[in-house]
């Protein structure tokens, strides 16, 4: 199953490599990873997505992450109600009549055109991974020039929050 694991850790050089090293050393899968400082600049929030069939391994992942000395808190967001977003920037060939059509498609996906040239559009789309996939699927494959996607970010619903 797919799990979104969120954690707070000391914003120090080397913290990220401890997390990445743990996954490679123990052979756990990382599907995506996002990390940046929070409102408290001494704390980073890292969100990672992993796909493991064995729930025992997911339990080990959270325990091993908790064991890292730099890690302050770990939460498996998938255990509760949560919202999830990822972002994609995509550059597409846009010429002639295709320009109008692409604009409409982007609107349907609530995308924003961030940059325009005489032959291209650069579009921003946010949403869950499946929505981003769907946007790609809706495009003519040959028209796609470049794709950049963030990993997923997640946050729990309601009043509970992951803070120190």
């Amino acid at each position: 199953m797919r799990h979104i694991i969120a954690m707070l850790m000391e914003n120090e050089p080397g913290s990220l490599s401890r997390v990445a090293g743990l996954f490679s050393a123990r052979g756990y899968n990382i599907h995506s990873l996002c990390v940046a400082p929070t409102d408290d600049p001494t704390v980073s929030r890292l969100t990672l997505v992993t796909r493991e069939e064995d729930e025992g391994i997911v339990e080990q992942i959270t325990k091993q992450l908790n064991k890292l000395v730099d890690v302050i808190k770990v939460l498996d967001l998938t255990e509760g109600e949560h919202v999830e977003r990822a972002m994609m920037l995509i550059k597409v060939r846009a010429t002639g009549a295709r320009r109008e059509e692409l604009k409409r498609l982007s609107d349907i996906f609530r995308g924003r055109i961030l940059d325009v040239s005489n032959s291209t559009y650069t579009i921003e789309v946010t949403g869950v991974g499946a929505k981003l996939d769907a946007f790609i699927d809706a495009l003519e494959p040959k028209s796609i020039l470049e794709v950049v996607r963030s990993g997923a970010l997640g946050i729990g619903r309601g009043t509970k929050s992951l803070r120190i």
Binding site: M9, E10, P13, G14, S17, R18, G21, A25, G56, E59, Q60, K63, Q64, N66, K67, V69, D70, V71, I72, I164
Partner: protein, 567 residues
Amino acid sequence: MELTGAQILCRFLKDEGVEYLFGYPGGAVLFIYDELYKQDAVKHILPRHEQGATHMADGYARSTGKPGVVLVTSGPGATNAVTGIATAYMDSIPMVIITGQVPTQAIGSDAFQEVDSVGITRPCVKHNFLVKDVKDLAVTLKKAFHVATSGRPGPVVVDIPKDVTALKADYVYPAEVEMRSYSPVTRGHGGQIRKALKLMLGAKRPMVYSGGGVVLGESSEELRQLVQQLGYPITSTLMGLGAYPGTDHQFVGMLGMHGTYEANMAMHGCDVLVAIGARFDDRVVGDVKKFCPKAKIIHIDIDPASISKVVKVHVPIVGGVKEVLGELLTALKSSEQQADKAALATWWEEIEGWRAKKCLSYDNSSELIKPQMVLETFHKLTNGDAYVASDVGQHQMFAAQYYPFKDPRHWINSGGLGTMGFGLPAALGAKFAHPDETVACITGDGSIMMCIQELATAKQYGLPVKIISLNNGYLGMVRQWQEFFYDKNYSQTYLEALPDFCKLAESFGHVGMRIDKPGDVEGALKEALALKDRLVFMDFITDPSENVYPMMEAGKGHNEMLLRELA
């Protein structure tokens, strides 16, 4: 008061109460060595190889419970220390390793003797630090000692660039440190403890499986009380030997790959297993699917990640073994329910049946010296009181089987990493801590060569350890596997061109003895023990074909052991 980084380090070690620093100098740590020269609060010990330094600090730590402290230079000093750091990591030994580093401005430039010590050691330390500002030095050192010694202990590396050791900062000894990201749990959950006690007392065929965590957690006394009050059988892992008296009737011997028949059969047959400070290592468990098929399992451990990692358990208790056992004892005292005496008597009858097989008997009428006999004799002569450090191989298993330990911290061996070369330096480290006790190193003709240079350290500091080398002319443990599982293709396991160990020992200024007749074993051991102030290297020429039994092959269950067949 303004001090240089090097002065801060020396002052800190003194204030932290560090007795010995096992170190080896080099360019990046010259300022530190200059300060060490000017003080005598911390005794600096010079090994002959950085691996030796780490194993010495490790032997000191294992035999005392205090952290072992190491200082090495950058580059090759740090990489030479890695084997010792990984050895300590696998067995959760508290150590602080200070590595010199090239100056801050040179980091990342492939400078002379630069390696990424923090990167190289990351997977084999509990934590590590790079100190970039001298103002952070004292606090970082304190954090290192705190992390190394609390919770599940382990080695911590502090990498200090050369310029940091020369720059100045104010120094006050940080008596305590706060780390918001690190707070190990020590008290067990009350509800879980009550649940565990109920399960334990309801058992018809209980079994206690205790591990190295009991030694590390200083909880032998609590363990002994609990086991004796309940009357339950107890087995131990290789790492836990000595936590419970090895000659007590309730102790059924070590379990696992080379455990006793009775311990493994009791594991297989038990209905409630109480795992205490043990981590279900593959050498203990064998095939996970065949492990304790009838048992409900209680697991007490300070490390939540150890719980249900290998084997799913029914009642986990996260907490310090000492605290949890203490709470179990209190709960037992006020409990109305008591152990099921009648069921227990039947269970013991069954265990005695297994014990009657005498799985550790060997051919003691042989013309050749049997390694088992050497260890049994050594046990008799030392009354089970010696500190015994071991290398890795058959001799290590023989020591575990034939030297029943009375007390914790007396059995010093690399169980997790299985590091050949560990024995001699670890014995020396233990001897520093226990100058008036008998300290022995049990080794083989293969292992001893891996840190043989430390014979010089033993000479320099006058460390009269007793080296018992079981010389079978082979890398015996590997030879045994080749005999059993690889068609007797003895590929690269015969040690041709062994040195004359007596002369070798003598050349370092020690006493060498060669013993090749069974009738001479006891006399030689007595003589060596009587030479109180000399290191004696006893080269016992043993039966080259002897194997370690019983044996549970990898992938087998506890009830599928190979036993020694005697004519």
